[in-house]
Point group: none
Chain length 240, copies 2
């Protein structure tokens, strides 16, 4: 896998075909090849996407369609949730530049997703919580509107700045999100079984916080196993 092919653009519930086409153009302009779409409003394939793309789909791999964001991220090792400024989330915040530098630090066969929310509302908090980190394009605080195609264009350009291969890095392997989520679900079940959540209405937010905290640790597959072991030990094997 080349350093370009491992970078994946994920569009979550996009609405207008024209915007998907603009994304494809921006990707082809800067040689990105991997597009995943979660629940496109108007289905797929989409004629207005193809028309707006002006042939760009010929330069990217076949678009992959998913039913849920979690499915789209299952084999991803690190994911950036693109957001506007000031999301109150305990996650690392990256610019395109620093996100690309972060992505370059991973092993070459580890997949990196850049997740974009729907045009009007962006990503919801739960969707953001499913990603490892935030990515914000640092625009003027009072004139910040970038449409979907423009956001992907800036990111794709930033990624293209690094097309020169870098030396192997010393970082550890990252667990895939599927591995991570398997562990997290188990933790969640154990916390439910052991009445961790005293106030049910705080449960979703607390779970998001715990997930954010654990995602921030960039767990390796071995560390995910260690977490499983810790949960097993502490629950004395009583929880599955």
């Amino acid at each position: 896998m080349s350093t370009i092919d491992r970078n994946i653009i994920v569009l979550n519930r996009p609405q207008m075909g024209e915007n998907i086409g603009a994304v494809a153009r921006a990707m082809a302009n800067f040689s990105l090849t991997q597009l995943r779409i979660v629940n496109p409003r108007d289905g797929w394939p989409n004629q207005s996407a193809i028309k707006t793309a002006s042939g760009a789909f010929d330069f990217i791999k076949p678009t992959e369609i998913f039913d849920s964001l979690n499915d789209a991220l299952a084999d991803i090792h690190y994911s950036f949730a693109t957001t506007a400024r000031n999301r109150d989330m305990n996650k690392l915040e990256f610019t395109p530049q620093s996100a690309v530098a972060k992505a370059q630090s991973f092993n070459k066969d580890e997949k990196v997703a850049f997740v974009f929310g729907q045009e009007r509302t962006g990503l919801e908090n739960d969707e953001i919580a499913s990603c490892h980190a935030l990515l914000t394009i640092p625009t003027h605080p009072h004139f910040s509107s970038l449409n979907l195609g423009q956001s992907v264009l800036v990111l794709a350009y930033a990624l293209s700045e690094f097309t020169v291969d870098t030396p192997e890095n010393i970082n550890q392997d990252l667990a895939s999100l599927q591995e991570f989520n398997g562990m997290f679900e188990r933790l969640q079940n154990s916390l439910d079984d052991y009445n961790f959540f005293k106030e049910p209405n705080l449960r979703p937010k607390t779970l998001r916080n715990i997930k954010n905290m654990l995602l921030r640790a960039d767990l390796s597959p071995q560390e995910v196993k260690t977490m499983h072991g810790i949960i097993s030990a502490l629950t004395k094997g009583e929880s599955s």
Copy 2:
């Protein structure tokens, strides 16, 4: 003069007001303030430029209009002629990234122009010859079309990379090591109580690995409390 104000976008004989408006938007998005236009086809001011700009002209200084490219460049210290690939010119060729680095190397009161040709044909050879160097956005060789607004967007973003503060910041307080270690010791005692360490000789190394993993998450004081709560819940309060 700030480092932003000394960067000047020059549009040479632009045709469509819509494109001028898109340029203004891209500039405002990334806090560029100086726009010069040489012989706009439809005169100035231009209503469709203003309409497309969606208020962007409020964020940039009054647009300056010139009769010739040479006039527009008269007080400029260094100028980049943006072109598509492979102009056969004996000039230095820059990418946005290297052009911005070059611009940063000048004194702060030296003005730098980024010159964009008309939509259809770009800059003519004589116009390119009036500039110091070439600037080419490195796009896919077979899918390279960027319109005027997109080209300025990429350049404006590249210029903004040098004004962003820190590459990544975490929006939370860090727990002190005393807080962290209190939690970690408790986890360690619980793991001992619940026979987590099957092989005693591996215990020190495993504990180090778990500590590394948790330290990597940059826990806040609140998150340390959450960890206490998780340990309490899973051990049903049996471990201290």
